[in-house]
Symmetry: C2
Subunit: 208 residues, 2 copies
């Protein structure tokens, strides 16, 4: 994109949602500055962060000059604007958004949350409200991976025949689903797609 | 938009997610055919529906000719393509998407789910896994309404100074939040915004 304003990513590097934005920038060839917050010590819930960066207390937030874009998938869209990562055909474009909304509703709350609970919080530290939700999130996470695997049986990418933001947004938490004890070997088409993503000449790895 | 293909909405009319698409079509002046499914008797989980309409078993799905767009907010985007409901400035456009993703992650799973549990399923019929989640969803739903109210203290609409898809997608479940026993009187700016939405010359009411 042809932005002249400085782009600053407010982030926590190990978060898949933050990684999405970095991977989008890498593939789109956009320069991104970065500022790290420790989410485990509440650095995104300080009065200053809530007042200035994001009233929702979450990262990533993309700062554009002196304005802010919360929500990872919206930030990815801004970074990728005008690049080949966003299809121009109206149906393909809506199909891309469909997978991005699906990711936030059906995939992230299950796979990303289990990863966070198991690897950051620790199962022993979960609340009595959280722990009973683990089996449901396991089932829903596997259903999400199965739906992806079924879709990829018939195509190389999620939208038409090229990598788009849909692939980037779905890749972020899918390729580290093993950290939440999901067995990706059950989803061979997903594994093939992960390898295609990693083979992109501008691929950038997550930092954990 | 200038689509020549037939648009058919696969829906359950009382669903706020389905209403979003109808309201978008009304305001954008787009003709929509409709097909109703009874979600309470599993009509969206039949093998035929899963194979032909949406492997995710959910409505709404927008059918465009012989192709399908699941996910309400993606369907709204397709219907509104080219209309004034979608800002063209890249920042405003990403800001609109930010509210639409936020709606699916922070608003819908709390307010819409409580409405569904309380008015359709019935609190007495909730599972032992669902019932303990009610207080958390109540708290998160009120936090979402408060965040909206704070934003609307400084502006008439969610993005810049005109109604966009962000307003439509947030309106759908917000204006019926009372059906889930949320007290909208606590959020006067939200009430003012609801009245502005209802005052739109092409406003269309939900069917419940």
């Amino acid at each position: 994109m042809s932005m002249t304003e400085r782009l600053l990513l407010h982030e926590y590097a190990a978060s898949g949602n933050c990684y999405k934005v970095r991977l989008t920038a890498a593939i789109a060839g956009v320069r991104l500055e970065r500022r790290e917050y420790d989410i485990m010590t509440g650095e995104t819930r300080t009065p200053e962060f809530l007042a200035k960066v994001n009233a929702n207390g979450r990262i990533p937030v993309l700062q554009v000059g002196d304005r802010f874009i919360p929500e990872s998938n919206a930030a990815c869209y801004f970074v990728a604007e005008g690049s080949s990562l966003i299809p121009t055909d109206p149906f393909d474009h809506a199909d891309m958004l469909r997978w991005m909304f699906w990711e936030q509703y059906n995939h992230e709350p299950n796979i990303a949350t289990l990863r966070f609970w198991m690897r950051w919080v620790g199962v022993d530290n979960l609340s009595d409200l959280q722990r009973p939700q683990m089996p449901g999130k396991r089932t829903a996470g596997n259903a999400a991976l199965q739906l992806m695997d079924d879709h990829l049986a018939g195509s190389q990418w999620f939208v038409r025949d090229a990598a788009s933001l849909a692939d980037i947004c779905l890749f972020a938490y899918t390729h580290v689903a093993g950290e939440a004890d999901f067995d990706l070997q059950r989803y061979p088409n997903v594994i093939g797609w992960i390898e295609r993503m990693k083979g992109h000449p501008r691929f950038l790895a997550i930092e954990t």
